[in-house]
Amino acid sequence: MSTATDLQDASRLLVRGMKQDATLSLALVAAWLDPLWFSKVDPIDDLAGNEGDEGALTLFALGVARTCSPLLYVEAVQGLRSGWTFTQFEAAFCAGFRREFRFLPLSSIEEMIYGVPLDFSGLEQTGPEFASQHPDLAAVLDRYFDVRPVAEPRPWRDEPYAAIPEADFEAASNVARPVIRSLVAQDCQPYADLALMLLYLFSITGNSLLDYTADDYWEAGYEALYWEREHLEMAGEACREARIVLDATDRALAVLDARSDVAGALAECVAASRAALERNEPHVTFDWPIRGRSRRAGQGVQRGTGPGAGLLLVRDCYAQEN
């Protein structure tokens, strides 16, 4: 009579035998490393109508990992084999995903159903809540571009309605563009951060994550990105650049508060740009303070979002357009 240990060891005996046969070895390795190969179920078809089903969600997530990240795939398979619950699987999967695609937000498997998740940080400058949601940026528009909310009579509303007129904002955007070009041409900090801040403020960065709100993006008819490796890399890069611009905006606002020479220069340059626009002059000269310039991007900025990364982004994406 076999003991429990002998029965439990039977699998090792079988594995030893399978290793001696080329076909069985191949089958064992395939089952070990790529179990989804043997699944007859299409993960996407299985998910239709079963969006709350943990099994369907697990299969879908594994299918995505298999396509986009072999490392995540093998880790997930190993975890499931060791007995993970769905909650453990979801937590480990999302953590592993964020580790590999650092700037892509993913907090649950269910949100994967709708395509690659993206965080939109676009501004609604002419909306009634802009000043309350982004007081620092609203102050920049007010102080430097003379653009501020105008109260509109809305008798059917209990609360007063005030928003920046679109025509005023559009005019300010035209005034800002030569100033931005000049800031880009300085090729140093803190002017790179100032340029990125103004690009973001006027929604002209060229990055959809910064130039659109989520509602505007989907209403414009864009489709969600499919779960393919190149889409993830592209989205990850867009998210990284968005993070750089947002961090640059915070730094630029701090510089405007801390350095009166830079704030004064910005005000003068905006005024000069407006005057040149009114006189229809094609060329205008801007002067920026020399004190405290930094042209060095620094080492190891490729993965960061600091001042060096901001300077590199300006050089790579906007200096060429200049």
Partner: protein
């Protein structure tokens, strides 16, 4: 000049082909499954292999399986070759 193959010759050629060397197969030969009582499938597969190594082996395995699938589909799409020799056993 190539004048064709007999079935015997084709069989000999295919039998002489060495098994493909895959990283997963090498890992399978080198590593031992877990000893003693285990849950799930832990006793079937090699233990203590780093995730990076597994990922490389899995990538190679997936590419190999897809290559086999493509080859299978091409073979299935081959047109039949009409025989020119009589095969009396066929109707039996």
């Amino acid at each position: 000049m190539f004048n064709g193959l007999t079935p015997i010759q084709l069989y000999d050629i295919l039998a002489a082909v060495e098994p493909v060397e895959l990283k997963g197969l090498a890992l399978l030969r080198r590593r031992q499954p877990r000893r003693g009582p285990t849950n799930g499938a832990g006793c079937w597969f090699p233990a203590e292999t780093s995730s990076r190594t597994l990922a490389e082996a899995a990538t190679e395995m997936m590419a190999y399986l897809q290559s086999c699938e493509r080859a299978t589909k091409r073979l299935q799409a081959l047109r039949p070759v009409p025989l020119t020799v009589p095969v009396e056993e066929w109707p039996l």
